[in-house]
Symmetry: C2
Subunit: 337 residues, 2 copies
């Protein structure tokens, strides 16, 4: 193999429940190569060996050749790989926490070839209803890094809300004073997974169609759903309002594709309405909302956030690779700095 | 067949989505015989014939011999049999409605043997989020009939709340003035179906066990869940609080059977909290709550209702057969009266 034009400075793994993304990063943290494998911790390659061997095999597929081409390259990994079901369980760090502390708290394991792998700890908030995350803390670090790089970081002393919509949405409150950012609190909403369960496994799915609808009508149905939570009828809560997906179908107001869009808007609307109520009761009004996630989903959330009066909403790209790079930097894994 | 000791006065069918219950009722509405068949409108016997023939076959199984033994007996049926997927679609009556009007609005069909079958209409409330019921209106009639028979009907002029917990819970507000009862408003909560979908088809089910737990610990887990909706953390709404089922498992607070009980309590608690908030904002405080449903489920709801400050809660038995009898009486189907 000829010497690489752009030498590898960090191998960064985003290793979740269902997928594994491997980044080969260059001298400035730029992505030189990206591999997406269906090898999450719950669907590792079948090896027939011991419990470790599925992780070893997935790791080899993800970056074995990169390491052979550039021996000694540091490796960092975030996500469910550090969970109880992961390669090695890494204890959670407790929230509230200074964001800088995360990079100083990496755990390590060695694979069968003696390669050191640095694992990012997840976070736990031990309140009455505990909350946990693994992987999103890295994206939050990436968001703050992007914000610092954008020159917008002058607004220190103001709260930032980082939203990570997905199967389980996380909403993370960041408080800044001077150069310090504190991860103060976070909430989880199971909106994406609830949408899938309701659409696939309840009567609400019976009238739905996934495709074939008029885009404009679909958009109207989504908006109609999104606004329900802020009406008097929305007071009944999501266990009750979801039934209107069916009755608006029965009464001919929504067609099959419309029912699907309506339920999507309805659930996201309830999520944002609850988030807003909590922020208000805490006396917190974020100056900025930063979103990380799949583009289409971020567009849906942006629309609903605006409808509920959230002002500045920005979608941040490449938060994961930025976060992994920043954590490796803080941990002293990179030669330059 | 020898003449029956207790002659049949009414054949009453409670024909829902998944099951069909047939009652042979005597001179005073007492149940002489009951058959429960797995022949709901969504799982009719396979006949290979036309669309009607599944209904014909189920009807024959349910009460063909009763009719041959007592020709001319009136037949009444309530539930999804009158829906768009039913034997014949019966238009909904609109809420608010005087309860007496329901029995005066039955539709009829004739089966292939010329037997007249009277179908009870369902109810619709055409609000911003429309609500529908089919079958529960009959149980409400039965509850009011039971209440009149109990001598407690003196408390006219007071509101009654009828709760029908199940796959879809219905909460029905009855306003009484003199001998008149008005069905004023109702709400639907998909609590039972959501519980099944979350337990069976999301990550929350992964840590659960259905059986094997300590009964007392299970009861404590149920209570713990039921109270969440009235705490500050409960403000986050059900899309968020359900995640604590998992995190209280991860942190060792709840075992597998406990997680199941906790989620059950949590969802019912959110339902009752929302119901209470709506009643308060409407300025309505029911003097009495009457529950109809499976005994174990009614016990769960009674416990949560008490925890949320609802005073008098009573479980009403045999509401369906009482309601069908009362509706037949109002409709003039019974010779005596």
């Amino acid at each position: 193999m000829p010497p690489a034009l752009h030498p590898t400075h960090l191998i960064a793994l985003d290793w979740g429940t269902s997928s594994l993304r491997a980044y080969r990063l260059g001298a400035h943290g730029q992505t030189l190569e990206l591999r997406a494998l269906p090898c999450g911790v719950m669907q590792l390659p079948q090896t027939g060996g011991d419990g470790e061997s599925g992780f070893e095999a997935a790791f080899e597929q993800a970056c074995g050749d990169w390491l052979r081409a550039a021996p000694g390259t540091p490796v960092i990994a975030a996500g469910m790989v550090g969970s109880r079901q992961g390669w090695r369980e890494v204890p959670y760090l407790e929230v509230p926490i200074a964001v800088d502390r995360i990079g100083g708290s990496l755990s390590t394991l060695r694979n069968r070839h003696g390669q050191l792998i640095h694992l990012v700890p997840g976070l736990i908030e031990n309140s009455m209803l505990p909350n946990v995350m693994r992987g999103e803390e890295t994206q939050v670090v990436g968001v703050l890094n992007a914000l610092a790089g954008s020159g917008k970081s002058d607004a220190s002393g103001q709260d930032i809300l980082v939203g990570l919509p997905g199967t389980h949405s996380k909403w993370v409150q960041i408080r800044r004073s001077g150069a310090q950012s504190q991860l103060a609190h976070f909430d989880t909403f199971m909106t994406g997974e609830v949408f899938a369960a309701l659409s696939g496994h309840t009567i609400l799915g019976r009238g739905m169609q996934a495709d074939g609808g008029d885009a404009e009508a679909g958009q109207r149905a989504f908006e109609r759903g999104a606004l329900v939570a802020q009406t008097a009828a929305g007071q009944a809560g999501v266990l009750s309002t979801i039934f209107s997906t069916r009755t608006l179908g029965l009464t001919g107001v929504l067609d099959g594709p419309g029912q699907r869009e309506y339920l999507s808007g309805l659930l996201i609307g309830h999520e944002i309405a609850a988030l807003q109520a909590m922020l208000r009761s805490q006396g917190r009004q974020p100056s900025q909302v930063m979103l990380v996630g799949e583009a289409g989903l971020c567009a849906r959330y942006t629309q609903v956030l605006h409808a509920y009066g959230f002002g500045a909403v920005e979608v941040v790209a490449e938060a994961t690779e930025r976060g992994l790079w920043q954590l490796a930097l803080t941990a002293g894994l990179l030669k330059h700095a």
